[in-house]
Symmetry: C2
Subunit: 411 residues, 2 copies
Amino acid sequence: MTEPKIDSRRLWDGHMAMAEIGPSPGGGTARLALTDFDREARHLFRRWAEEAGCAVRVDGIGNIFARREGEDPGHPPVMTGSHLDTQPLGGPFDGIYGVLAGLEVVRALNDAGIATRLPIEVVDWTDEEGARFGAGCLGSNVFAGRRALDNTLALTDAHGNTVRGELERIGYAGPKPVGGFPIDCFFEIHIEQGPILENEGIQVGAVEGAQASTGYWVTVTGEEGHAGTLPMALRRDAMHGSARMIDAVVNVAMDFDPHPVITVGHLRVRPNSRNTIPGQVTFSIDSRHPDNDILASAGAAMRAACETIAEDRGLELEIEQTSHRDSVVFDPGCVQTIRDAAAARGISCRDIYSGAGHDAINLSHVCPAGMIFVPCEKGVSHNEAENAKPEDLAAGAEVLLHAILARAGRA
Amino acid sequence: MTEPKIDSRRLWDGHMAMAEIGPSPGGGTARLALTDFDREARHLFRRWAEEAGCAVRVDGIGNIFARREGEDPGHPPVMTGSHLDTQPLGGPFDGIYGVLAGLEVVRALNDAGIATRLPIEVVDWTDEEGARFGAGCLGSNVFAGRRALDNTLALTDAHGNTVRGELERIGYAGPKPVGGFPIDCFFEIHIEQGPILENEGIQVGAVEGAQASTGYWVTVTGEEGHAGTLPMALRRDAMHGSARMIDAVVNVAMDFDPHPVITVGHLRVRPNSRNTIPGQVTFSIDSRHPDNDILASAGAAMRAACETIAEDRGLELEIEQTSHRDSVVFDPGCVQTIRDAAAARGISCRDIYSGAGHDAINLSHVCPAGMIFVPCEKGVSHNEAENAKPEDLAAGAEVLLHAILARAGRA
């Protein structure tokens, strides 16, 4: 029996070619969803998939499915994939690895002349990062029925462009419907985006589940005034109050064990002029923890801290919860398949928990799903310095290949 | 002898007409320097000045001089004026009042058929607010020889447009040189932009001097990372550190008596994405105090506070001083002329200190200068809600008229 083999060089070169599409100033990748760069990356993936013999289709939210037919075309496919969009200052691996590793599995099966019983589909999910239209995982959310299609198509970016308009503009508004067909299972492979695997010298993580996550917008309203004339005692300075709130909100993480992760990543000041006391500040809070109840308690503590400061400073406060995802436990069968594939290939593996949101979390609501992590340099991600080792990417793809083969079956 | 009389209604209507040029969303004025709106306001002022019989000229930095000739054309003029540009979210009085009150003085003299011995010039100084090109009082600074013309013309806005290019675009790049001719004296009338006159029920302030002022840019550099995966203990969160610094910097004001005023008005976050730990934050500090030495001490305290926090949080820190103005004492003769004019008209007057920067401060370095303040509602300025009473504006203009007459002399 021929043994399929991951081509480490081909996998790495694919990442480097993709990274040339939307290079960022500091040597990373800046490829926001549904931009011209995203179009170019999608075109390249489609071309590679077609060259590998796949049939490519696009759905109504722009998700791209590259299908390697199975001996039994009527059977639900084994699906794998991730996303080609990046953060405003991102790297070449976050998401891209999951798409290109899926493609490498198809190529490796082709090279070894192996047919499978079940079809295999490699997917590029639309706008996982959520850096442009104010919400993330758009493609997989709609696919899994967790967001309405029309509502998602109507989301706008900072310039008023809609998802619908941008999909049409770049030529990736496929025919409806989105989702609604059976899937055998979904595997997503991804860089860890944290330091655990690298610190422990382990090549693969079998992801047991993902953290709960809650997002907020906080709006602090005071009163604008002249920076040179309004005495300190009479000020209602929205920036000063917000600074205290941000410090307090981040510090809430230290009150729980294990710590949740709490991030204030986005902030807008109005009018944002150096000689005017800010009248309004809006900032985001991103909070995550494996335990739903602890996360809710942290949310209440953050809210209370902001309210105390607002009252003390005479500021108006509005806190809007903009997103929430309960913690997710992946399908134990899928997780075991991953552990077994690693063990069979002699690749070091440990169980791990995901801190980030991923498309696989949405898929876990409509089919058995699992994730594979590989180390990335210093755990750095969402950063232009994001990096990973070719041999770790290849080892992870090897595990993905054998997990997929275990589910799809040799014909 | 005919008595000249300020036309309160005409003065008020002029403000309302100007306020229609560049209306802001919240009912104020948004007329940044050298925009299409600024051009329109300049055109209107020029037309009104010419209708009042003035000869209008423009200099190389776009300052507009409307001259009412004197019996002795060779004598240095009595000058008055302020600026027509506004903050991004400003009101209809800050600066505009100083230009329109000067014009009203000319009209009142015309109506009463009064010639003066000295010429009178009403000036619109270019870009006082400094909200677009990163520095303020451009026109009066260059006029007084306190900024180089070429360097000022080369300043750029956030879109890379230069002062030179924008002056040419709106048709207000006059012939060089700028300044360099003798001036008898300069009076500027302005809303107080603080609460003192209103609180005390006094109609006019004779401004004795202006506070010292120092501006800084603070850049805090940490490391970007994924909001969901990087443990709190491993973060170098530039936003969290900056929040602590902003709180500490503003609190420094409380350590000195009387308090300096300290404002963090402008802030930029990089990459400003809600699910990325900020890698860099840049913020402005505006600090002012009547005493140069106390302001320097406050500057040192702010720097020390930021350094302590940066060290504690493992962040890199850069503090750049971007502007400094020593405190200014206005010409005692000009101040006395203002006090006398108010007393002669039975208008309540008190001595006052300016918290804000004004074009008159620059002029005080090249000629005797003084300022007149009038109350504004709740002391609010640099705010769309900025407001003033027609009768206060008229009373101030009355004092300006008689101060100018005292210097220019009846022919």
